[in-house]
Symmetry: D2
Subunit: 339 residues, 4 copies
Amino acid sequence: MKFEMSFPDPLYGHIRVTHLERIIIDLPEFQRLKRIKQLGVASIVFSGAQHTRFEHCLGTMHISDLIYERIKADFDEEDHQKVRIAGLLHDVGHAPFSHTFELALKMMNLNIKFFHEENTKKICEKISLSKKKDEMSQFITGDLNSYFKTIGKIATGDKEGLSSKDKFLSSIISGEIDADRIDYLLRDSLHTGVHFIGFKLSLLLESISRNEERFELIIGKQGEYRAFHERMAIAIAEAFLISRYHHYEYIVNHPRNISANLIFVKAFENSLIRLKNKDPVLYDIELNRFFNECDDQDLINFIYKHGDQQAIDLINNYKNGMILKHIFDLKSFALLPKI
Amino acid sequence: MKFEMSFPDPLYGHIRVTHLERIIIDLPEFQRLKRIKQLGVASIVFSGAQHTRFEHCLGTMHISDLIYERIKADFDEEDHQKVRIAGLLHDVGHAPFSHTFELALKMMNLNIKFFHEENTKKICEKISLSKKKDEMSQFITGDLNSYFKTIGKIATGDKEGLSSKDKFLSSIISGEIDADRIDYLLRDSLHTGVHFIGFKLSLLLESISRNEERFELIIGKQGEYRAFHERMAIAIAEAFLISRYHHYEYIVNHPRNISANLIFVKAFENSLIRLKNKDPVLYDIELNRFFNECDDQDLINFIYKHGDQQAIDLINNYKNGMILKHIFDLKSFALLPKI
Amino acid sequence: MKFEMSFPDPLYGHIRVTHLERIIIDLPEFQRLKRIKQLGVASIVFSGAQHTRFEHCLGTMHISDLIYERIKADFDEEDHQKVRIAGLLHDVGHAPFSHTFELALKMMNLNIKFFHEENTKKICEKISLSKKKDEMSQFITGDLNSYFKTIGKIATGDKEGLSSKDKFLSSIISGEIDADRIDYLLRDSLHTGVHFIGFKLSLLLESISRNEERFELIIGKQGEYRAFHERMAIAIAEAFLISRYHHYEYIVNHPRNISANLIFVKAFENSLIRLKNKDPVLYDIELNRFFNECDDQDLINFIYKHGDQQAIDLINNYKNGMILKHIFDLKSFALLPKI
Amino acid sequence: MKFEMSFPDPLYGHIRVTHLERIIIDLPEFQRLKRIKQLGVASIVFSGAQHTRFEHCLGTMHISDLIYERIKADFDEEDHQKVRIAGLLHDVGHAPFSHTFELALKMMNLNIKFFHEENTKKICEKISLSKKKDEMSQFITGDLNSYFKTIGKIATGDKEGLSSKDKFLSSIISGEIDADRIDYLLRDSLHTGVHFIGFKLSLLLESISRNEERFELIIGKQGEYRAFHERMAIAIAEAFLISRYHHYEYIVNHPRNISANLIFVKAFENSLIRLKNKDPVLYDIELNRFFNECDDQDLINFIYKHGDQQAIDLINNYKNGMILKHIFDLKSFALLPKI
């Protein structure tokens, strides 16, 4: 890898990027992620949770790199670049307020499949058509379009049609224990100020090995690594999964976070329905824009423009940290499990 | 102090608040700070710098408390509450994009004194008139209005008319080495991902003593503290001041940060002038709102509404991370020294 | 509390001590702990594990203080001082290589009850007879001897004859989730360089409440603390217990650590038996000294002096990091569960 | 590099080692470093300062690697292995209580050049003759003896006769800003619990470039790295040097540390002179052993064996944390500047 520049990062110090990665980061499709908060409305409870998908995507690229370096074996420089870019783009299809947004669409029983994995794949393909396509082509062997099609699949864990090697790369970004989850557990913990991280990154990395098309947390060959035993790898895997469980229990499913989510779902649903009834053509255009151009503020502006007074009041209350009591007391509501 | 709840915090774990503090935090005047980034446009260079004045104000209250606890001596519970609230409110008068905003006003040669210290004092007084005034009065001896007037002075370092005790409290929040600066050096460093923090908080706190109306970094009485000597306190003071210098040199005066600031100054100035020419009455109203109600997004919306096409393009470029090259190369431009 | 000086600490910054605590720390009984490693032979596997019982005891005092401050309610300054001193002295009775040492005595089927809890109580009483007894008396109401008798019971969790208040203080130092365990989990993790700490100290402290004679991790009164719910306290308790389990699984029961322990047990047992056979009087004297005066190096010197050539070879091998292979492969041997 | 195992490390997570490095680490010459404290007697002031030369040497190897990776350019795998081993062995010649020991020899006006740099070179050569020499030879092209001779020179900054490439490698370990100093500043800070570290490792690494036979903190080619400017590299260099200055001012030259050092110098000098007078032959043998076989405890045992009662009392007092007052008040005594 020839690195060209680096981004300072609260978790990992500096994250280095290649020229090709820098081109992608500078595209509007990726810059948009700077304006979408990683945890959406959760900053109402955890005031430090202001971090964005942009930082998380850089971080996922970085962790993908660390896992890759540990088990590269028979891979080459192109595979290395591929897994990094897939990590970088794995969340590029998220709408503003991501899960809240998708929940609103679900509640409206819209028969659309506008969800972020699909959208990530679409945007990856779109990137191959951007005005920077010739510059990007210099760094890639083969067709740019099919390259980014593959990236989209690796990034979202859609293994259909992937080569055995690419399936393995995909398992680095999208598995049970993967670069995406490692980064968001660490990053959300740092910024919320609470954490339940019972595993240590360096220890987890030391216990990684490759098992054909997946990477694993167990050292295959007996005695290869003096300090490690199967038993230790089990402890690390346990610790990781329990950390994830507590992270959900405490942060994602925090009663006030859930209340804030419901407020947004209600207000956004109201605005969408009103626009749909008033101007179905514009409605279709706008809905599409959310997945491609909009950021968190655009969604708020949308509610101010199309919502009724009650919807506007909900958003104003949200902005002032006010959550309705009877929503606040709900305890068992569960969000979509994957963030 | 009887604490009622706490806020998780990335730097200090949890920050506890009393009932009176919670009332203040819940006011719209304070909630607004959740939507004003601490470092304004700097997130274009340091993508992690998404943290807000809200977190910084809680943090300043917390550090004020730690300094106070170290040297409380003949103070009482009311003084304790006072210095905490002054720390909490010390930045409540900041406009969105704070220093950028003030620079634009300065460049327009407006003969107004709309700057944040003055405004902080005004908002402190306004708080004493809020609809929660009766509830707040229960926690205060004496007149609420004059209480918050004093708070405003302590918070901004305006020592005129303050009692000797209050002057001392003010030195905790606003001096050469103070709670405000300690918190922003630590907090900006955490979030930008770069740091030049050559002092350790616990060590600095251990070396604090009181010298009449100021607190100091030198242990007065020989031998009072076995592990500390005058020489050590000098080392800590040196380390603090150099950290501050490097922080400015690296983060605040980063060439791309300065470029981004200039872009905003230009675009905002353009929008203000256009509005002033078109509708001087609305212009006055809006200008006033910036200091009282507006957040970062309101300022951006203002430019979109009142700026010419060039101003709008500048903001769009900013949102996509694009900084004009010839601005980027300026090296020696200096922002206002105090952030 | 009037603090007189402080000790720098890798975990908590600085740990402050009162004049009375400083007198105790300066006694030879306590200084001895500086020369007894917290994790005994484990430094053969975790080269950073050089930290001592001295630091752990200061740390336990510090955590006791934090828990106490959270729930002091109707306690007074004397109770505060008491729980701090009990935390400070809770491990003062450990022999060098603590658990290894006790295991050797057990294996010899010695019908003695020389174990560290009993010994801690004895040394606490001895402290009340030290040459500093008059100076200490100035800080205590009532009889010094019965004061330190009580301290010994609080420190070791021996609740027999304790007042209801003191039982509560004892639960802070010696329970399921206690100051002792919090400190050693954090401290061992820092120094070994591996960690499985899935709980955050500040969060754990926020969730503490008092339930008569025990402290608990559940907020009793509904709504007392806005950010906390019963569910959260459960998550924290779970996270703590699992951290403890993984800590044992990984650090204490690390195969090479267990091997090194067995080597010491064998060599020490051999030396003891040889001395017993040769000079039973000296044997009794020496055995007693181990609990009162000896440090890690004294135990090693004892083996060099009284062990046979095989015992000496084992220690020489240990010093050079050499562990016999067939011991190394044992996987399921379990040490005494409490360290 | 093909890594075989790793050591957990409090600062860097895990430090990986190759098979050749592991052979060296397992030699008694290197294992000895596990029993020599990095900061000698300083643990009397900073109770956490129990860390050893062993950990520091692994750490210096690790930092050498990070610097090397940043600027490897036209180097090959053999150079990589070379700079790592030189980092690993750079302190292998230290006597117990290192600087204290050397000061005692100096004060005796012994006309010997037994100092640690020279001794490091000697031990490096000795390693090439160890019983593992055939196994080591498999990993090295050319003669083992001249290989380790070169290692000794690279490790100690003795550039005489080194190739241009090797001179550069040497500047990584031994310059103004080097792997040795980076590691000990970070490591001593962690363990003492005080720090004055005003630079961030990742930032320092990002600003490194190569200037013929030295590495530098300035990015040569304009614009190569978007986020960095000459000005930033200057800030980092300033921050590093000031950190080093404060580290000395506070930790190394702490009055009580200096007092403890003088105590040891006195007691050791007394024991040496007494032995010299009594048995000059044994004296020569013992003196030689200190540099080759002895650890901290051996030096203490030496004083107990050969010192007069006053010397023994000094050591006993030291073990109990007692420092003579009149020594303690000395303020301006300076140790040898390099630790």
